[in-house]
């Protein structure tokens, strides 16, 4: 059970029910409205879980971390100043919990950082292989599904900080500005980490495609 100072209802000061943007809900939670917090949980549960799952690669752990993230948010809601969006704060908490879990897990390789000033050598990856195999046709669902599963594996090989940034960008569509604020890093670092994370994932997928083509005897398309 979490102790919270926000247990006194203030019914008279509740704003209009239609005004349910994040900050309004946060204000309601602060005034003791439990239902408002439930709305926030329901609004972000899927995305928080997706981030946790992408980071941890374990469904149960991801579920525990997602719950923990919301509990922490509730507990420290009074520390949220409202200078940034609620969701950047929520994702920041989620990512930090995930990083803690990964560190507790150990595993060594996670701490490895790319040299962010060094240009990525993309010659290892087969240029255009992914784009040409998938194109823009969403009907290629079998391959898409197969690759979507593969990409989850590929994510696991990306260092945790790069993975976090890639997940937040792709799941939430966060701007570089928001990513910088969420992870408390300069915007240049956001660009650099995203670039490296994508290059790494792309390399793994290209290798997989090459292997797949070699197996099926399909040449370059």
């Amino acid at each position: 059970m979490v102790e919270s100072p926000r247990c006194r209802p203030a019914c008279g000061t509740l704003p209009h029910p239609l005004a349910t943007d994040d900050l309004t809900l946060v204000k309601r939670v602060r005034s003791g409205d439990q239902r408002a917090f439930k709305l926030l949980v329901e609004r972000y549960q899927r995305k928080v879980y997706a981030v946790a799952l992408g980071m941890l690669k374990d469904k149960e752990e991801a579920m525990d971390v997602s719950q923990e993230a919301f509990v922490k948010v509730y507990k420290y809601l009074d520390h949220f100043k409202g200078d940034s969006s609620f969701y950047t704060w929520l994702y920041r908490i989620t990512v930090n919990i995930c990083i803690d879990v990964l560190r507790k897990r150990g595993g060594g390789g996670e701490a490895v950082e790319f040299d962010e000033t060094q240009a990525m050598d993309l010659s290892e990856a087969r240029i255009g292989a992914l784009g040409s195999r998938l194109g823009t046709n969403p009907q290629k669902s079998a391959l898409r599904r197969e690759l979507a599963e593969k990409i989850q594996e590929a994510l696991g090989t990306v260092p945790e900080k790069h993975r976090a940034i890639l997940l937040l960008r792709e799941i939430e569509g966060m701007s570089y500005e928001d990513l910088a604020r969420t992870l408390d890093i300069p915007k240049g670092t956001v660009m650099s980490r995203l670039f490296h994370a994508r290059a790494k994932v792309q390399k793994i997928l290209s290798e997989y495609l090459e292997l797949d083509e070699a197996k099926s005897g399909v040449g370059n398309e």
Binding site: D33, V41, K59, D121, G128, E170
Partner: protein, 213 residues
Amino acid sequence: MAGNPACERFVPMLSPYVDGELTPAERVNVERHLSACRDCTGRAADLRAESGLLRVGLDMAVDDVDFKDFAQKVMARVTPEKPPLLERLKLSLSEMFLYQRTAMVSSLATAAVLALVGVPLLMSERAPVGYAGERMTVKAIQPYQDARVAPVVMETDNGGTIIWLVDDEVQNGASPSDEDDELQEDVGGLRNGGRQPGRKPKTDVERPSGGPL
């Protein structure tokens, strides 16, 4: 890195380019390069495909999860000790009006309409119906002298008519109990307070001669 030396400058810009994070000037430069460089065009296509795949993959993974109890579990962990009953009632009432205002208002309106329509209807069902529902007053009586069964026609003040069929023999001295008068139509008020035709024992009493009362 890449065959084209210009690519060294543009490759790091491809990721922010597909994310729409370049300035307009940078974007123009990248697009100019892409129009001349097949490798970088392929790289940009790869980045877009990868981005879509990542989203699809995560969506697939999340779709497998049932979030039905997720919020409940979180709420169970964060809910502090219960406030007093009166406070909880006040809070839940205010929350009902806050989050289900439309439903609450329409329910109250429906209840009010039902009360306005239903209560009078229920009350009216208790009142007598038919002739008994009206209070009628006999205005005039018109006897028919020559008939064997002499009808006595009475007009009521609201335009109705009451007809007594009086046995002429009773009129001429027979016992009222021998032949009950045939009462075609009657009125509650007259039964109670009026003179009943079958109970007209005295032959010396003349039949009403007619005219307004």
